[in-house]
Symmetry: C2
Subunit: 213 residues, 2 copies
DNA sequence: TAGATTGTTAATCGATTAACAATC
DNA sequence: TAGATTGTTAATCGATTAACAATC
């Protein structure tokens, strides 16, 4: 049912639903959840929950609701989170290093968390060879090789702004088409490449708009 | 002209426009910029650029474009970035520490960057007293006191998920109504509190949707 | 069966784009 | 003046909500 193109707005909510369901599974108090309850916990209207899910199939039962276990399994499958996803991170500054630690710990502690940083790159020879959370920092020249070897199709970019476009080009050249960028610059990518920007300065600046005088 | 309520979609683009203008000022090649050019550099259509700016005043000249210097000054004023904004950060894990380093360095290097982390808190007594980028880690009990003293009205939350709601309640209790949250949980706040969530796991998970099988 | 809740269609809302008169 | 570009209105597009028949 992946024929029609699903909008980004819908995709953005799927991991939220999944998180609510994972929590419900952990707390394990019941087997069913209505769109009403799922919506409340996800911060979304019940109608929108149903509409979002309906894009992918008929997962609910009228008069009953959704089976938590089933829906969780489906959402994992839809999001490709039913198996490990190897990820590269480029740029071991303070932020990059923190991200490696954060995600690798999360991966090793939470068995349901399939996002796994498996290779770390930095152009600084001083940093190369250093161990970050069990991974050696490697030269960016090795990206294509390691990507192939490890099946990497997703990367996190945490390099300084000047280097970001170059790094992105290298990643795309290595066949990586899913990018999560922390550099505060607008990047240009081919249209079959998906890029999500986490521009933290921009977010803080927009928060400042709401300051009262 | 802040009578009508400006939508979040508009506010989100303002810092992008500002960044383009700051760059243009730095490169200093010219004094004017059209909505066409500003739009290209910001990744927005020219019509939308004009519409967004028109909410706040008539900053352009027909047939000419926008004066870069003037518009930059106006945007800074609109975003309250024409003066320093003191910020608190709570939670000195690897991510919190990286954020302190990142923003404090940015603040000291870039004279136009007015967002300034001025106080850092963590509940772990082991961490209290430690120096992070020139700031001592303090006990969260001191938040109200320091907030008053330093005029803090914005805070970054980088604590573990379990502690997040409690910390947010404390911050709101101390009169802080602008929050930037990194904890992977849905937080409940009074409606006059603005909260921006940077839920990095959620973003990576949604990127996984676009994996091809 | 009666009550509840889904999946889906129609109505509404809001944001973006197109178009153009005003005017520099 | 002629050409260019703004500010703004109308048209379009897309996302969310309301409503309800289907059905468990």
């Amino acid at each position: 049912m992946r024929t029609k193109k699903i909008s980004a707005a819908v995709v953005r909510r799927l991991p939220i639903y999944l998180r609510v369901l994972e929590e419900a599974t952990r707390d394990g108090d019941k087997e069913l959840m209505s769109s009403q309850e799922l919506g409340e916990k996800a911060g979304v209207s019940p109608a929108l929950v149903r509409k979002d899910l309906a894009w992918f199939g008929e997962f609910g039962k009228q008069g009953v609701g959704y089976d938590i276990e089933t829906l969780r399994t489906e959402l994992r499958r839809i999001l490709h989170l039913d198996r490990d996803i190897p990820i590269a991170l480029v740029g071991v500054g303070s932020l990059g290093e923190a991200l490696v630690r954060y995600f690798r710990r999360r991966y090793s502690l939470d068995p349901g968390f399939h996002l796994n940083i498996v290779a770390v790159f930095d152009a600084d020879p001083e940093k190369q060879g250093q161990d970050i959370e069990g991974l050696p920092v490697q030269a960016p020249e090795l990206i294509p090789e390691r990507a192939k070897e490890l099946g990497i199709r997703m990367a996190i970019v945490a390099v300084p702004p000047d280097a970001a476009q170059m790094v992105v080009d290298a990643l795309v050249g290595a066949g990586i088409r899913l990018l999560f960028n922390f550099a505060p610059v607008k990047l240009t990518v081919p249209e079959d490449v998906h890029i999500i920007n986490a521009d933290l300065s921009l977010e803080l600046q927009r928060l400042a708009y709401y300051l009262e005088d």
